[in-house]
Symmetry: C2
């Protein structure tokens, strides 16, 4: 079957990055369409994929993955698909569902992190919603971030099979995603995340362990890894992390 094609917005990590990390850890070939040609051209390619009237299963939004005739949208659904194919999730139904449940909770945390700088409308600029962003970020840093990270700490505490793993004794896509979530929070909120991670030492250790995995380390050091910036989900606005 043809190699994977990832379709996503150019110039930012965004939700596409969760898919990239899984593909990199799997060590499989993939086209990253956003990185071909100029940013403008890449945007057009993304848009064409969405607007193609011949596509019976059109994704609502990027990222989406093309694999042969398949077109799969929604980050968590893409990872469910890749997890089965590349040993990035357990084979048992219970293990698969638990891994997916972790991923869906990460997705919730990601949406909330995004909304710290866009609490009113994704369509508008951050500059158009700064007072609201300040209120939302304050609540997120004080209550929601510690709650999410605390839950992952509990999951690591209770995993009966694997020290330092979320699910069983092996890496899963949820673990790669937790790495990305924590990396993003650390970039966006260096102060608040330091406080929260002090109470979640196993989460902090897992994040380091994922970054040190050979394929992930090679990816992070490569030009393929787009740096965090203020176009993505995790944005560093110092006024939101006072």
């Amino acid at each position: 079957m043809a190699a994977y094609e990832l379709h996503y917005w150019p110039g930012l990590q965004g939700r596409g990055e969760f898919v990239r990390l899984a593909l990199e850890e799997a060590g499989v070939a993939y086209r990253d369409v956003a990185k071909e040609g100029s940013e403008g051209e890449a945007s057009v390619i993304v848009a064409t994929g969405l607007d193609d009237p011949g596509m019976a299963t059109p994704p609502f939004a990027p990222p989406f993955l093309r694999h042969g005739k398949r077109v799969i949208g929604q980050t968590a659904a893409i990872l469910l698909y890749l997890g089965d194919r590349h040993g990035l999730a357990p084979k048992s139904e219970t293990g698969r569902l638990w891994t997916h449940q972790l991923q869906l909770t990460i997705a919730d945390a990601v949406s909330e992190a995004h909304d710290t700088h866009h609490p009113i409308a994704s369509r508008l600029y951050y500059e158009d919603q700064k007072p609201e962003a300040k209120r939302r970020a304050e609540d997120f840093c004080r209550y929601r971030m510690p709650k999410f990270l605390g839950w992952f700490e509990t999951v690591l505490d209770r995993n009966p099979k694997g020290r330092g793993h979320l699910v069983g004794a092996r890496v899963t896509y949820a673990e790669l995603s937790l790495f990305q979530l924590v990396s993003g929070l650390t970039y966006a909120f260096p102060k608040a995340s330091r406080t929260a991670l002090r109470k979640a030492p196993k989460v902090a250790a897992l994040t380091k362990a994922v970054a040190a995995r050979p394929r992930i380390a090679a990816y992070l050091a490569s030009e393929r890894r787009i740096p965090f910036n203020e176009y993505g989900i995790f944005r560093h606005y110092p006024e939101l992390d006072p």
Copy 2:
């Protein structure tokens, strides 16, 4: 295996309702723990489920489903599980993933609908975030609701196999969930939803068709269906639908 046990907050439809609709359409027995005893007691039962240190896979938040030894959190993951068991999703991998992708997009729309009245913090009252809510609801009604409903209309248009169905030629859990989303939007935003649904006639027709399915109709007419109210996700605040 033991019957299903749904754990959710008492007194509101919330995200639990998506699970209830699937269980009702499947025609299976289930305990709805929130409806047993007083609301206070039910809350305690929910909390105990979450705080039980013996639970190796603790859900982050309700709803969660207990089925024998299994504990499954996250609405979309619960529906993935029930869909396989009760013919509420196709058996093919492609069909299962597409149904799940629809569900995940519904979940995104549900979160955005919730945030119209809680754009700053779920922890605070609506009364503490009214100006922000007004801005967010305006954007939601004007841009996001039509975009989501328009996408589902496109999906209905392009389904090669079934007139009036989202996936193939049979009902799926995603269809039950779309019914719930549209019902909720109609309750919360009677004016804005009327405008949006006028441009999504197939979505409107599907909503009616789901409501008329024998088991769903019986459920909606029963005391088991909690009425929409201002504790749930879909709240009718007239000032947000001017």
